[in-house]
């Protein structure tokens, strides 16, 4: 009786299939349209569809999009790598050394960095940057993005560290390894997948983050999100569609890599950041 009811609950009703289809459509139809338009000759999104690669050619020659794209990629790469280093250090500290009170406070602070709206964070960061004399600058963006993505790395890595058997470290120590050697030879290889997952997520969150960049960018410096924002206000050419298509492709690749790294085992809560 109970079992059959459970099966009913698990089976997809027509209504649920409909809802699922609708949600997926809302997510993916715009993407598909952008991809199609990037190959369409007409710059105004009009039919008939005539295939072309000229927008891709334009993207790489005279669109003015590549500069902001590279800036964003470089910036996010730097942010992600820094977050991996500092985030892993913080996670190890949380797991091994932090007192109960300090650990709880640090976790709460990190959690609030995720839950406080970026709008507020960005505004607050601008105030702080001005107060400490950094003002709007590339270094300010770097710091702001780093603070924004750090919690993701810390939570993902510390979830994995937490699941590690403490005795592994004890075993290594008793066999003659110093604390650092024990970490490098035993713990580090075992948490590496989670560090890589955290780094990739940090990269994506940083790359995407319009608000922090908007508040902290110096005048005249345009990251990709800021550039797209400007273009949308003044009208744009389908070379942007071509760029968007490339980014979607690269994102899919990254997600595939994340999956191969065993993201589900890395302890990411619900894969929410994706």
């Amino acid at each position: 009786m109970r079992k059959s009811r459970l099966r009913d609950a698990e089976a997809l009703s027509p209504f649920m299939i409909g809802m699922l289809a609708l949600s997926l459509a809302i997510l993916f139809v715009p993407l598909v349209i952008i991809i199609l338009l990037s190959f369409n000759t007409s710059p105004y999104g009009t039919f008939p569809f005539q295939g072309t690669l000229k927008w891709y050619a334009a993207l790489f020659t005279d669109s003015g999009l590549l500069g902001p794209t590279w800036l964003s990629v470089e910036l996010s790469f730097l942010v992600a790598v820094s977050a991996a280093v500092f985030g892993t250090m913080a996670a190890v500290w949380l797991d091994r050394r932090a007192s109960k009170i300090a650990g709880t406070m640090f976790r709460a602070a990190l959690l609030s960095a995720i839950t406080v709206p970026w709008l507020i964070l960005g505004l607050a960061m601008l105030l702080v940057m001005n107060a400490i004399g950094l003002g709007r600058s590339l270094f300010a963006i770097y710091l702001g993005l780093l603070a924004t993505v750090l919690p993701y790395v810390v939570f993902i890595v510390s979830a994995r560290l937490n699941a590690l058997d403490r005795d592994l470290d004890f075993a290594a120590r008793s066999l003659g390894a110093s604390p650092i050697v024990s970490f490098l030879r035993v713990s580090a290889p075992l948490i590496l997948p989670s560090i890589l997952s955290g780094t990739l997520i940090a990269f994506m969150v940083s790359f995407n983050n319009f608000l922090i960049q908007y508040f902290l960018a110096p005048f005249g410096v345009q990251t990709l999100p800021l550039k797209i924002y400007t273009l949308i206000r003044v009208g744009y050419l389908p070379d942007l569609n071509a760029l968007a298509t490339l980014i979607v492709g690269i994102t899919c690749l990254l997600i595939a890599i994340l999956h191969r790294l065993g993201l589900r085992n890395a302890g990411l809560p619900g894969g929410a950041a994706l």
Binding site: D165, D167, L168, F170, A171, A172, R173, S174, L175, G176, A177, S178, V181, R185, V186, P189, L190
Partner: protein, 357 residues
Amino acid sequence: MSNMDDGLNITAVGKGFGPVQVLRDVSLSVPRGAFHTLLGPSGSGKTTLLKIVAGFTPADSGAVTLAGRAITDMPPEHRNIGVVFQHYALFPHMSVTENIGFGLKMRGVAKAERAARVEEVLRLVRMTGFGHRKPAALSGGQQQRVALARALVIKPQLLLLDEPLSALDRKVRQEVREELKRIQAETGVTTVMVTHDQEEALFLADRVLVLEGGALRQQGAPADIYGNPADEFVAGFLGAINLLKVKAEGQMLRLGSQSFAPPADVIGALACASKGAVLHLAVRPEQLLVEPGEAGTGQLGGRLIATEFGGPVVTLRIDVEGQAVSVLSLSPDVLAAGPWEVGMPVRLMVRGGSLLA
């Protein structure tokens, strides 16, 4: 006693976690080559003591020496102590060979010698041919053998075993237990094992140390501890026991309205007890003999409450003077000696035991 300096010496070690005192001035010595077991219930402080000896936890007070060296404040990597953990703690990303070779690598042993020593210790634990496997591809018993090999290959001055058998199935546990005994005897390594399983402790150790509430309650040879427990706790912790509340009455013991002859073991102790003193006679179930029928002079009478068949042993539950229900296990032959009927009178002969104040 000259070899005491070669072994492990623990002097007045104390340890507290916050307000909880886990170890209270524990002192003990393990001579070189001996196999001692720290036996106690969970929360007795036995694992904490092991961690202090291994260097994983600092002691609040006291001193630890190993082979004449003071190691109290030495980091674990300098102690040369092999540790085997309850859940094996094999490095999952390394093969069996790499796991075992880890300690040698840390000691800078050259590759060729390392391979030879790993091979040798694999033979010792009867795991030859498993070197290329990852721990996940091994059974629990095999993993614990590898863990033992990993701890032994560094030729430690002391081998610590932290509940090494508790994660294993019953059948495998007995197998590994025998292997452990053989390997310890073969290598002659000084060994301290922590366990809560009294059967394991009695089987393996040449000396059992009973720990409770952070203090040593009794230590001695297994047969000694089992046969002559020092107090009620030790008596109850090492297997089933009957604690009969008795009064000293000259050369006899009185239980309620009955007067009976004490077993030979306790006559000496009884002579020291003052007349009328209330004592506990601790009797192992197998030290009692039971027959159907009323009690004669100097025998103890009671009524049968139940017979419980348990394979190789049979337990008879008997009520003596309404006092504590006593237990009795014997070979199944006793059932044939019946007829046993619940409620029938039986007589008990006490063949051994010890007196507790």
